[in-house]
Amino acid sequence: MNSAKLVVRNITRRRGRFIFTLAGIAIGIASFVTFLSLGGSLKNEIKREATALGANLVVIPKSACVYEQVSILTGEQLAATITMEEVAKIRAINGLAAVPCLTEKTAINNRPVPVMGVLPADMQRFKGWEIGAGSYFGSPDEPGAVIGAVTARQFGLQPGSTVTVRGERLPVKGVLKESGGKDDLTIFLPLAVAQKLFKSGNLVSFVAVKVDDLAKVDGYITKIKETVSLGVVSDQQMLKSVLSIVGTVNVTLQLIAAVSVLAAAFGIINTMLTATYERKREIGILQALGARNSTIFTLFLMESAGYGVLGGIAGVVGGLMFSAFAAPYIGQNAFTAFVKGSDVAGIFDVKVMAGSILFSAIVAILAGVYPAWRAARLSPVEAISYE
């Protein structure tokens, strides 16, 4: 017999309570890890999207608030309110490249997919797109689609197949090389084709602008504002305001995570206090057999730690399963839309897993201190006389 064996025997003696306590810890730790990694990946993903956007400035409706800015980064649908005349005026300004974008949405197999109408040649130059398979648009109003790599893979689209957008069957011209940004998820159409399909007349959602000289960015902002009655936001401003929202989301997520861990800790305290009460007599027997107070304390603390380690392992496994099965579905929300593909894999990181289990064990040990102290404090006679 050794302490570990004794602890295992004690921890598993009440199957039901053991399993429910464990489930509580597992859920607490799983949500803690999931929420934290969601929050973290949210931030990284936003930064990456801002880079992938490739614009220094974005022209948006004057009334646009931070939520529209989020939409630009996520590729969410954005109402088309900017006229092509306004676009032409912006494009006429010297020293900048401006591309109009119409953001819409369609469904393939009942899954929403972002659609973007672009000026083919200008956009390719603007983004530096490379073609992974097939070809690019031949003419600015050719009815056809160029597909982001991830969407192409997900729905089995390739050059030669057709994709249905708004009831219109369009030939797939080509597939873009994977870039890691939201372009991978988007179906691109020539602007004219998109405007016709989505009946948005001659309107676009926003205009992405790249300036020749970054030092003069403020000057360009003024110039654009003088030229058209629209709002202009720099990518840095956009990043800042979006990140501040994400910050709020993060705090909320962290709070939920903390509460779930706290609930798990109370579950352990409750279970261990019940155990000390139930085993009062056995504690007395152990003392009669020569157990010191510190031995009793250690045995009970080890039992809590056992809950922590086992619960942590179960939590990590649960978290992995949640990430694998549920994460694709939470990508529908504007904020969680950032969490896609590779970043959810953050939880698969061995360091994160080991850290979670360690964290769980530490929480459990802290939660076990009071019950263990109660057990160790029992006087032998009091414990022995208890029936």
Partner: protein, 240 residues
């Protein structure tokens, strides 16, 4: 009259034993719970010779268990001293007192002696673990002790699978785990039928013949009649 009474347990009465292994001087114990004070012991002085078979008798609630607990270092007296094999217990810290309980004394109580989640063998091994015996040296000795109490076949049984008498014999095997000189038994047969009681007593007397000092609280007059020394506790003092 129980069957046990008809038996001769082979206690060698009258054998002269001079060395004292347990000695108490003017033991007092007062329990305080709230405003109520219970004077469980009021000045108990006794000497128990090494290798003797001593019975403690007396009415319920008169301090027998309290006396056993003080002798065994499970509790500390309000006043007075306990000497075990020359060691004065009040001079020991909690750790050293625990070590005395682990190595020099074996306890058996009236009921619920065993750890319910462990097998018979593991119950014996726990006692060795607490005395610091390495794990690899435990199993063989535990099995030998269980064989000695006639439970070689029950090593893997849980307490719930054992009869009352068998449970008490496991508790005795466990009390012997670290070869203590002294066995303290608080009504070990109080919960048993007479057949099981006879088996347990047979075992105790054979341990006595092997040289153990046995102190037993009992209501069984037949045992008391054969003991070398009978201590009558009445109202917290020794009568006679």
């Amino acid at each position: 009259m129980s069957e046990a009474g008809a038996r001769d347990w082979g206690i060698v009465k009258g054998e002269i034993m001079t060395e004292t292994i347990i000695k108490t001087e003017n033991l007092h114990k007062t329990y305080t719970s709230g405003a109520v004070k219970t004077h469980a012991l009021r000045g108990v002085s006794l000497e128990i010779p090494r290798g003797s078979f001593t019975c403690i008798v007396g009415p319920s609630g008169h301090g027998k268990s309290t006396l056993m607990h003080l002798i065994g270092g499970l509790d500390r007296p309000s006043d007075g001293t306990v000497h075990i094999d020359g060691t004065e217990l009040s001079g020991l810290g909690n750790r050293e007192l625990a070590a005395v309980r682990a190595k020099r004394i074996g306890f058996v109580f009236q009921f619920f002696n065993l750890l319910q989640s462990l097998t018979a063998q593991e119950n014996v091994e726990v006692a060795m673990m607490l005395a610091g015996v390495p794990e690899k040296d435990q199993a063989e000795r535990a099995r030998a002790l269980l064989a000695q109490v006639g439970l070689a076949e029950k090593c893997a049984a849980r307490p719930s699978e054992l009869s009352g008498g068998q449970q008490q014999r496991v508790a005795i095997a466990r009390a012997l785990a670290n070869s203590p000189d002294i066995l303290l038994m608080d009504e070990p047969t109080g919960n048993l039928d007479s057949a099981a009681e006879a088996e347990v007593l047979e075992l105790l007397f054979s341990l006595h013949r092997q040289g153990k000092t046995i102190v037993i609280v009992t209501h069984n007059n037949d045992i008391a009649r054969q003991a070398q020394q009978v201590i009558r506790v009445s109202d917290g003092v020794i009568s006679d």
